[in-house]
């Protein structure tokens, strides 16, 4: 299919076709990363601006590698030491981005919806590298790629996502990319860390909530463990980390209850010993390192598709 999206802000309304197009392009990019010279020229002369208002090493580096692998020029605007940290408003940062004249802006921000704000006000194409609790579309796609690579056809498979779903943009994006591919999702975790509407009878299509993790992983085709985001929690949502880890930690026993060969995934960084045992994180079923490799390829695929969607359309000229 011909790619028409100008931005990648979230995968909330992506069709199966669109997701599969990105997955297919990802496979082509993986091959490039396996060559002796891990580089191709399609973004030569294009500038990719990395605007990370929230600290992140792995995602930012992953995007940087992806952009450079496609021969783009990369500029970094990051939180620490920048005017963003000194309290510059998003509005002013957007004007700076506009003045810098990048072709693609990759951004991470603590406010849900910030990428929409930026996309409305700059000529550049925008890729969301994580906004608040809302979305982390490239993670959703790379998780879908990793699972499809491991399991083959995903139709009818059941994947468990366990952890702090309420505050997790990874969980939301995983749901939005896996469900269109035919996956059923079982969410597990403490009720206080689950969106109230999803817990109380209005979950998204093909998603259910099972508070008992042992029951949830029984016969599942794979599991994604989420980082317990201590920094985003207010007190009162969890009695203790110890209890969390006992009731919802991913142990070898729980992994054994899944189907044979069922993969274990985690978006990283991990709190080993809390949401996931070290043995499981580094064990035979773990695809956590593969996720990282796939992440660069997914980001290359999206940078390529967005760069090809034509030259920047000035804000004033948009319909």
């Amino acid at each position: 299919m011909k790619w028409t999206r100008r931005h990648v802000l979230d995968t909330d309304d992506w069709s199966r076709d669109e997701i599969e197009t990105v997955l297919d392009q990802t496979r082509a990019m993986i091959e490039i990363l396996q060559r002796p010279i891990r580089r191709a020229p399609p973004l030569r002369g294009r500038t990719v601006i990395l605007f990370f208002a929230e600290a992140s090493t792995r995602t930012r580096v992953s995007f940087e590698l992806a952009a450079k692998a496609l021969s783009a020029d990369v500029t970094n605007i990051t939180a620490s030491g920048s005017s963003v940290e000194k309290g510059e408003s998003l509005y002013d940062t957007v004007r700076t981005l506009q003045a810098l004249g990048g072709d693609i802006v990759v951004m991470r921000h603590a406010s849900s919806g910030a990428p929409y704000f930026v996309a409305e006000r700059t000529d550049a194409a925008v890729i969301n590298a994580g906004d608040g609790w809302h979305a982390h579309p490239t993670q959703g796609i790379l998780d879908a790629y990793t699972l499809r690579d491991a399991l083959g056809d995903l139709d009818g498979k059941r994947i468990v996502i366990v952890g702090d779903v309420l505050h997790s943009r990874v969980a939301r994006s995983d749901i939005n990319t896996l469900v269109p591919l035919g996956v059923r999702i079982t969410l597990s975790g403490p009720p206080t860390l689950m969106p109230m509407a999803w817990r109380c009878g209005q979950p998204p299509r093909e998603v259910t909530y099972e508070p008992d993790l042992d029951r949830a992983v029984d016969g599942a085709d794979g599991v994604i463990a989420l980082r317990l985001q201590r920094e985003r929690q207010e007190s009162g949502l969890l009695p203790s980390l110890r209890e969390y880890s006992r009731v919802w930690g991913l142990t070898a026993e729980r992994v054994a209850r899944m189907r044979p060969g069922a993969p274990v995934m985690h978006p990283g960084p991990m709190n080993e010993g809390i949401e996931i045992d070290s043995a499981v994180a580094h064990g035979a079923h773990s695809l956590i390192e593969t996720q990282v490799t796939n992440g660069v390829a997914v980001r290359m695929a999206l940078l390529y598709l967005l760069a090809g969607s034509g030259p920047a359309i000035p804000v004033e000229e948009r319909a």
Partner: protein
């Protein structure tokens, strides 16, 4: 084969899409006639096109597959139609990202003229004179269900 008696250094790489099917046929023919299995690869040149910023959309990139080292080899690129030469330029740029061949040769089914770059084929199936506005469409059984070369001529309005 007439040209390079030593088949041990030979490799065939088809340019997607259709050049790869032709390359496979050539490899099969060599196996039948000489009993030698020449390494076969396929290369997608989309990312090396020189017109990506002009066409306004991102063409689908297919996976390249070169499961052998090209270092020191005589690599024969295979394509269906040779026209401006830009595709071959892109293919060579892609190929040298895999290593350093001893030599690169070019085999095409149809050479329709109108080169825009200094590129020439070493092996040509058929020279077909065309007008620049014409369209030359190669159909292969593996891809399109039949073996056929169509030349579509534009009739002035």
């Amino acid at each position: 084969m007439e040209r390079d008696r030593d088949l041990s250094a030979l490799a065939i790489v088809g340019i997607r899409a259709r050049g790869d099917a032709l390359a496979a046929r050539i490899q099969a023919a060599i196996r039948t006639n000489e009993g030698v299995d020449v390494p076969l690869g396929a290369i997608d040149i989309t990312l090396y096109r020189d017109d990506l910023t002009r066409i306004g959309y991102a063409p689908v990139v297919r996976e390249s597959e070169i499961p052998f080292s090209v270092d020191g080899r005589v690599v024969v690129l295979v394509d269906d139609v040779l026209f401006t030469g830009r595709t071959i330029r892109a293919a060579m740029d892609a190929l040298v990202d895999y290593g350093r061949p001893r030599a690169i040769r070019l085999a095409v089914l149809v050479d329709r003229g109108h080169r825009e770059l200094p590129i020439r084929a070493d092996f040509v199936g058929k020279n077909v004179p065309t007008a620049p506005g014409d369209d030359v469409r190669v159909h292969l059984a593996e891809v399109d269900g039949r073996d056929e070369v169509e030349i579509v001529t534009r009739v002035p309005a």
